[in-house]
């Protein structure tokens, strides 16, 4: 008889424990990537502003990867949360006028995250009501509404002129944003790193496994007792909060917010980046952001008029011929080098 109270064999259980531990282990390329990213601030201080942009873009892409790559929700309006976060942080920094808690950038990040999490949670119910195509339209529609609101509420946002007088204070009361952007980059990168660790932990948790299960087969996920929509509400909320923090970083490190933060191209770019880097891999978002920015700069310098053509072509080729984007390539190489399974 199948004994449901039976215990595993000793060997079987330790094999299983080892298997789970191995899956979530940090691997050397991961260490290398983060050490390298921090080293850039000191190796090429003159490019810090560019690196800062990449770090912010990477965090934004990471937030979409949670929504798209793990929750499986195709969002064309993820930029709404980026823009909201930017405005919240910008307004706080403006209100704080360079001193006190309100102008502390880390406080700004926190409030942006909470605000966007709240808006994300509310809108997630609208998004999850429909099936794929409806979802797409709802995300797009919500983003358009917020963009128009920002435009109309010029008394608050500065409208087309942008939000003036954003004066973020010292980070934790200690570090000032310098002219060359090195502290800005270190600040953005540290934020990215910490939030990445959190995301990695969540993705490797039972909650994260259930997200992968839902994406893999929602019917079976429901049949094992998973409240699919509740989990997706959670993932969407987390993604919204992350996007808000990315927007807040941009507002703080550039000391400016314009309507551009709400524009559709941001949602589209970040979608490209995630697909380019590899959906549902976390690292794909970071590598994708870096690759996107480098490619953009190279192409814009080489062919100022046709860079979009070349970017589009490269993207099409990559999507058609390399399964899983850049991360698909990277894990393939890594597996060949080490002869075992891929990174988390």
């Amino acid at each position: 008889m199948i004994d449901t109270a039976a215990h595993a064999t000793q060997g079987g259980e330790s094999r299983a424990m080892a298997y789970f531990a191995e899956r979530a282990k940090w691997r050397w390329p991961e260490f290398a990537l983060w050490i390298g990213a921090f080293a850039l601030a000191f190796l090429f201080p003159s490019r810090a502003l560019l690196f800062n942009e990449v770090a912010i873009l990477a965090l934004f892409a990471l937030s979409l990867d949670i929504v798209l790559g793990y929750a499986g929700i195709v969002s064309l309006g993820h930029g709404a949360f980026f823009g909201l976060g930017a405005y919240v942080a910008g307004l706080l920094a403006k209100a704080g006028a360079g001193a006190g808690l309100l102008s502390d950038p880390t406080f700004g990040l926190l409030i942006s995250a909470i605000f966007c999490a709240f808006v994300g949670y509310i809108t997630s119910f609208l998004v999850l009501r429909g099936a794929d195509l409806t979802r797409l339209m709802v995300t797009l529609g919500v983003a358009l509404i917020f963009a128009e609101l920002a435009n109309r509420m010029a008394w608050l946002t500065g409208g087309a002129d942008g939000l003036q007088g954003v004066m973020p204070g010292k980070i934790l009361g200690l570090f000032e944003f310098d002219l060359f952007g090195r502290n800005a980059y270190l600040y953005s990168l540290t934020t990215l790193f910490l939030l990445f660790i959190v995301a990695r932990k969540v993705i490797n948790s039972p909650f994260g496994v259930s997200l992968r299960a839902i994406k893999g087969n929602a019917l079976r996920a429901g049949a094992v007792g998973i409240n699919v929509n509740r989990r997706l509400n959670g993932a969407y909320t987390l993604g919204a909060a992350y996007a808000g923090v990315a927007g807040a970083l941009l507002a703080q490190t550039t000391a400016f917010v314009s309507l551009d933060v709400m524009e559709f191209h941001r949602s589209a770019d970040v979608m490209l980046i995630v697909i380019f880097g590899g959906v549902g891999t976390l690292y794909g978002a970071i590598i994708g952001a870096a690759a996107f920015k480098i490619l953009y700069d190279l192409l814009a310098a080489a062919t100022p008029q046709y860079w979009q053509f070349w970017l589009g072509l490269i993207l099409v080729l990559l999507v058609l011929f390399v399964r899983g984007g850049i991360m698909g390539l990277v894990t393939g190489v890594y597996q060949r080098l080490t002869g075992k399974g891929g990174a988390a």
């Binding site: 789970f20 932990k201 994260g208 049949a223 094992v224």
Partner: protein
């Protein structure tokens, strides 16, 4: 069958229409705890549709479903699963990118209400891992538990389809052609596993192979064109002339009347192997 009071699963006047087609036609049904029940009927009779209605995959056009006496007709799939109703699918519904270990770990995490925990690594709950490995070992999946599900042989995937439904220790398990598409030699193993399930678990088996049906079932319902045609103890159903006419091949029923159900190796009629399809 038995009275509604001690039934774990019951339906009342259940109807499901697909456009003009009545796939489930006014079915009133009751399943006692610990049942060993077979649901048979020709292709397209509405067996899978009935299971979909019971498990909440499909909403009924009208009528009710009761689980432990409670009206669950409006409950979503996950809520019925949590209340102890489990099922397998005629066509595998698995997570191709998971390993069997992760798959069963997931099912058990949910059963233990640990599935929403987001601040600890999956696989650190000793009770879940221990139970998952025990189930995998019992269902002959121990040696492939770290392999990718999508690359397992079909027979192993079929075992996992059962394992994932059994893992949460449901009160009721609905098995929709668990041996469908499995090669002849491996069908026996699947039936043995089904027969070895805990006695207190109520089982409903859909199966076309009459050898397997009569070996397994104490009670049988015959579904024809969406309606319950005949139901009762296996021996009576086998003797029923209407059943012979509508569904069973005459000779096959004779066989089960004349000789006692075979206890050993499953032989003979492959029946409708089903169109199991790929995962």
């Amino acid at each position: 069958m038995s009275q509604a009071s001690n039934s774990v699963l019951a339906t009342k006047n259940l109807v499901r229409r697909f456009g003009g087609l009545v796939a489930t036609n006014d079915v009133t049904f009751s399943l006692p705890a610990g049942a060993r029940h077979a649901l048979i009927g020709p292709n397209g009779a509405g067996k899978t549709t009935f299971v979909n209605l019971l498990s909440g995959v499909l909403p009924p056009t009208s009528g009710q479903v009761f689980l432990d006496g409670q009206d669950v007709s409006a409950w979503p799939v996950f809520k019925r699963a949590r209340a102890g109703l489990s099922r397998t699918f005629q066509i595998n519904q698995l997570f191709a990118d998971f390993t069997p270990l992760e798959t069963i770990g997931l099912a058990l995490s949910e059963a233990h209400s640990e599935g929403a925990q987001f601040w600890r690594r999956a696989g650190t709950s000793r009770a879940v891992v221990d139970e998952a490995v025990a189930i995998l070992e019992q269902l002959d999946l121990g040696d492939v538990m770290e392999h990718r599900v999508g690359s397992l042989p079909y027979g192993k995937q079929r075992l996992l389809e059962i394992a994932i439904a059994v893992a949460p220790k449901p009160k009721v398990l609905l098995l929709d052609e668990p041996a469908a598409g499995v090669p002849e030699g491996e069908r026996e193993q699947i039936l043995e596993i089904v027969e070895a399930l805990p006695k207190e678990m109520a089982l409903v088996l859909i199966e076309h192979d009459m050898d397997l049906v009569f070996r397994f079932a104490k009670t049988i319902s015959v579904l024809v064109q969406g309606a319950l045609f005949v139901e009762g103890p296996a021996s009576e159903v086998a003797r029923d002339p209407r059943v012979r006419q509508v569904y069973l091949g005459e000779s096959e029923v004779e066989h089960h009347l004349d000789t006692p159900p075979p206890g050993g190796a499953g032989h003979g009629h492959a029946g409708e192997a089903g169109r199991g399809g790929a995962a």
